[in-house]
Every structure is written in C-alpha cells, then in structure tokens.
C-alpha cells in the first residue's frame, strides 16, 4: 500500500526540475463548472479524466480551476479552455470520453474540437 514517505521522492524529483514550473506566463487554464448543477450532471468524473489525461501526457503548463453556476445548468458539465492570446472555448454536456480529444487536439495542438463546443450545440 502507498505510504506518505513516497512524497519525498516526488519532492526530490521536483527540486531537480524546479525551473520548469516557474514560468507561468503562458499557462493554459481549464475551468470546470463545479456548482450543484455541474456536480449533479457529472463534473467530478470529467475533472478526474482531465487530471488523468494531463498526468498521462505529462502536460505541465495547464492549470485546472473551478467556477460556479453560470445559468446554463442544462448544458452542464461545462468545461472552458483558455489559451493565452486566443478566445475562450466552452465545451458543453461534457463526458469523460470527450476529454482525450480535447486535450490532444485543443490543449496540445491548439485546434478546438468544434463538435463538442457550445456553438455546435446551439446550431
């Protein structure tokens, strides 16, 4: 079973890479709606999928944050992706299965997955 002593290894590994985390200038932000409506609609597994995907791909320049209810409860879970210098993209009716493509195509390669966006929903 895992023990807290293993954190020492993580700490030492990070000390060696200290410089990597310092440059926060070009941080990408992924924001998940975590109000009652978001949680009830399944935001937690979506958030966990985002976390796992970032870890799996070893992506370090992304901050994951939360927001409240923005009044579009029926479209939750909603995930916003902010890439510096570009317009915000909102993904609606999110599911863990959609996360892989969003990370690969949008966060890594800069091309939003249009079919999952709020714009596609409204058409």
């Amino acid at each position: 079973m895992k023990s807290l002593e293993e954190l020492a290894a993580i700490r030492d590994k990070m000390k060696n890479n200290a410089a990597v985390r310092e440059s926060d200038g070009d941080e990408i932000r992924i924001v998940v709606g975590m109000a009652t409506c978001g949680i009830a609609a399944g935001a937690r597994p979506v958030l966990n999928a985002i976390m796992e995907e970032l870890e799996k791909r070893d992506i370090k320049n992304v901050t994951v944050a939360q927001t409240g209810c923005i009044g579009m409860c029926k479209l939750e879970p909603i995930v916003d992706v902010y890439i510096p210098g570009k317009e915000k993209v909102s993904y609606v009716l999110m599911k863990p299965e959609k996360v892989g493509r969003i990370i690969a195509e949008h966060v890594v390669n800069g091309r939003p997955v249009l079919e999952y966006t709020i714009g596609a929903y409204e058409k």
Binding site: M1, K2, L4, E5, E6, L7, A8, I10, R11, K13, M14, R21, V32, M34, A35, T36, I39, A40, R44, P45, L47, N48, M51, L54, E55, D58, I59, K60, T63, V64, A65, Q66, G68, C69
Partner: protein
C-alpha cells in the same frame, strides 16, 4: 438528487469554500451494529447569521443575494431523510458552519457513498491552498488523512495541485479507502 453521497459531500464543501473556509473537515462514520452512517462536514468559514441559517434548508427561499446556498443543502437533507435519517446544519458568524447527515445504513433508499477518493482528490486539485481533513471510520477501523501531513512531507514551495502530487494523492486515497470499506463505498 445526487447519485452518490460523496457527490453531496463535494457539493456541500463548495459552500464552505464560497464562505472562505481555509480548514475543512470531513467525517464519515459507518456503524453496522447500529445500522448507521453519519457524514459530517465542518468549516471555519465566515458562517451564517441566524436569519440565513433558518432559511438555508428551504430551496425556494434562497435568492441570488445568498448565492452560496441553493439546492445543494436541500439535496443532502433529502438524501438523509428519505433514508430513515436526519439532517442538521449549524453555523455561527465568524466561526464557521457544520453539517451533519445521518442515515439508516441498510435503508433501501440510502444512496451509495461512492467515490470518496475522487471527491477529495477533486477538492485538493481545485483548492490546493485549503486544508482538508478526512476522518473515515468503518466499525472499529479508522483512516485519517490531512493535506497538512502531505504538505509536511513535501516541504515548502510545491503546490498540492501539481500533477505528480495529485496523482499520488489519488492513488493513496483510493488504496487506503479500498482497504477500509472494500472498494468504492456502498
């Protein structure tokens, strides 16, 4: 309604965060002999006035000015009361708020506890500067977890939201909770 009680916990803790709590304690207690399950959430946030406290359990009284409360409390209360249990919320201005939900464990309408590790990991990832405590007791076995001890082991300067740390916390909690309750809580 929430599908799992661990989602109610996630939701209620959002109120604590909105109330600027910096120290949030989650207690879960399962007692098979007494056929009881208790969930407690306590924060050191700004607390509520007696007037607001008297209204928070009613979803239709809450308005935009009291945005930090809404359906979440009603959901949790209903989950407890439909499972042969009870619900209590207390608060004091400047001191904090505490919520207790009690369930008849074997009740057919009691929602499963679900993924407690997922709830805690999500909270830590999104709020790496808040101190979270978990005390989870199943009959005679107890598991204690706190972000304070994680911070102590990590030393200063490393955020708990760092992917490597979050991944460790996720696995650590899943393993220890599985050992305690035999897997995702039922």
């Amino acid at each position: 309604m929430m599908e799992e009680l661990s989602l109610n916990i996630l939701d209620i803790v959002q109120n604590s965060i909105a109330a600027e709590g910096t120290k949030i304690e989650i207690g879960i207690e399962e007692d098979d002999a007494a056929d009881r399950m208790v969930i407690r959430i306590k924060d050191n946030g700004r607390g509520m006035s007696p007037q607001l406290l008297a209204q928070v359990e009613d979803p239709f009284v809450t308005g935009r000015t009291t945005r930090k409360v809404g359906l979440g409390i009603s959901f949790f209360k209903e989950a407890a009361e439909t499972a042969g249990g009870s619900f209590h919320i207390g608060s004091q201005l400047g001191k904090g708020t505490w919520v207790t939900a009690e369930f008849q464990k074997s009740h057919i309408d009691r929602q499963p506890l679900g993924d407690v590790a997922g709830t805690l990991t999500s909270l830590i990832l999104l709020n790496p500067d808040i101190d979270f405590f978990l005390n989870y007791r199943v009959n005679d076995d107890t598991f204690d977890f706190s972000t304070e001890e994680i911070r102590e082991q990590l030393g200063g300067g490393i955020k708990l939201s760092h992917p490597d740390v979050i991944s460790f916390i996720s696995e650590y909690l899943s393993e220890h909770l599985r050992a305690l309750n035999g897997g995702v809580g039922i």
